[in-house]
Symmetry: none
Subunit: 190 residues, 4 copies
DNA sequence: CATGAATGAGTATTCATTCAT
DNA sequence: GATGAATGAATACTCATTCAT
């Protein structure tokens, strides 16, 4: 399934790659994508050359960060989707996607752009998530837990938007919980 | 109304300023804030020098654009707030804020940052809107049209987030309408 | 004939442009094209930004340098070609082209590459020179001053090669003169 | 013959060294000296480390390539010089040098720089060729086959220049032949 | 010995801002 | 006031060379 040939990667190289991804995730998430590559490299304790050896362009680094997050989300939803109750599965996944997407927006939005102009490397992961969400939505609607007139595009948009909402309430968990109540209530059939 | 001392401004200067604001609004909204100043100036039919005479930094230009939008929003909410029914006033204002905030997100979000790290020049306008929204929220809650446990921060966050949601559905008015139904439903007490 | 619209250019801007061209000509000619743009800018007494305002890429600067040289050569050959004796005109032009093409080779060769992969901006100038040389060659052959079996490609190649030869003898004018004798003798019919 | 102390070199090491030289020759000749070392190493099927073990700097690799070519040329001229007729020997050697020097110019020119600023490692080979050419020239002049007023520097310069001329006519053997006629005719006394 | 990962100085180019015209 | 030329710090990316595995 995975197209690219990868040799095992030496221990130190793997460590550097991982650190770069970690640092980049942190940095892109909290400060946006305009952070200089040099700073990312420095924060990861490597030279710029190393960064560019692992990720040939800044965009590739960004894509790699995204892929990792998306895959984590995909894995999470897969697990939740296995649960018995469709309604519960749906709402739990909604939370999971929103919670795991936290961060600077420009960055998060790639999720919804799915299938359009997204970098090829993201296609696979976003498609997987989209499919899963489509399934969950249908299930929840069949179970009567979600308004029947809602399509996948609206759901995706709502996920992104709710992410933004939550971002504003970073420091107030109680308020975030109230937002979930509002949104989930709104999603249920009247 | 405006706090600072301004001399009248010659007719052509005023015209240039206005064109710059119009162009900048259009450009920042549709293409984000990374557009070069030079391009904005050219689109406005003036030299960069003129742009910088009117707005000492790019950030100042951005702030001015924001202020104008915020004032328009403030004016709109003022009008709506005058209407009789608190519930209707509240929901109409919610729509108005979201609709008028449309555009590249990074840009829009300044709204919710209200009172925190926003550029000083925005304080006044955002404060006005915040106060108005606080009033409307209280009114709607008193009227039993909105859940009582919702605070102003949640409302502001929701406004921003809904703006983002809508941005994803730019081209699908029906879907946008469904989103409003979801959010408004969610806002009502169970 | 000249396609591009150019406004007069302010006095200082024109001066800077000229200085940049002069410096670049000198530098590219003596040290090759790998000299950093910053160094050229510094030598011309301007900032890098100015260099890039006048010439959007380093390649464009190189092209501009070439064009100027080629146009000077074209003008020179035009004058010489007007002279009465075809044989004299031909040999004088040969000298002129070689002498004026002096410098790092990679650079000079553009002449012969004419019509192939040369930067568009050079096409016009090289074409002009080529045409002129074709005419001179034909004339000299008609006058019996040059072997009849020689085509334009050989002439062009010989011009470039002779330039290289001369470059090796930069500091020995007498030797250079002897080279001209050799080449010119060789060009005459046996 | 080789001045420096070298231990025998293991079989595989020798093979690697040879492949590197072959690849580098090909690559420098056809694409110039700006090709990255990494690419040369890859083309030779070894890691960069290996390249740098055999040749401490890129320049050293370039020098080694040159030396090998120069030694081949020297060997060739030695053979030809042994022939009876001095005139024939001279002209045959001229051809041989030019033909064997083919390739990107910047690279070839090192030949003529002989004795001046050339890398120390080339001194020996260039000196050998120079001496041989000096001998051939003197012989041909004594035999009345070449103008008496021509010195070794002119000959060397002419060799390089003719190489450049030929490079322009890479694909036209007939034209190349005509160039040889021109140059050889020019070299003969009037 | 061979490998290829790591390094970091170096390079072209952009862009907010200043200032001479 | 308006203009747009000049400025130079900043930034992504490359590549010869070193060194841990």
């Amino acid at each position: 399934m995975s197209g690219s040939q990868e040799r095992p990667l030496r221990a130190d190289a793997a460590r550097n790659r991982a650190r770069l991804l970690d640092v980049a995730t942190e940095v892109f998430t909290t400060r946006g994508v305009d952070v200089p590559t040099e700073e990312i490299a420095r924060a990861a304790g490597v030279g710029v050359g190393t960064l560019f050896r692992h990720f040939p362009t800044k965009e590739a680094l960004l894509a790699a960060v995204m892929v990792r997050r998306l895959e984590a989300i995909a894995a999470g939803t897969a697990e939740l989707a296995a649960g018995a109750d469709p309604a519960e599965a749906f709402f739990d996944c909604f939370r999971l996607v929103v919670d795991r997407s936290a961060g600077k927006n420009e960055f998060t939005q790639a999720l919804a752009a799915a299938g359009v102009d997204v970098h090829a490397s993201l296609q696979e992961s976003t498609a997987a998530i989209r499919d899963r969400l489509a399934g969950l939505l249908a299930g929840a609607q069949r179970a009567g837990a979600v308004r029947a007139d809602l399509g996948l595009p609206e759901l995706l948009a709502l996920l992104v938007g709710t992410g933004t909402t939550m971002e504003q309430l970073r420091d107030d968990p109680a308020a975030r919980e109230r937002i979930y109540e509002v949104v989930f209530d709104g999603l249920r059939p009247r």
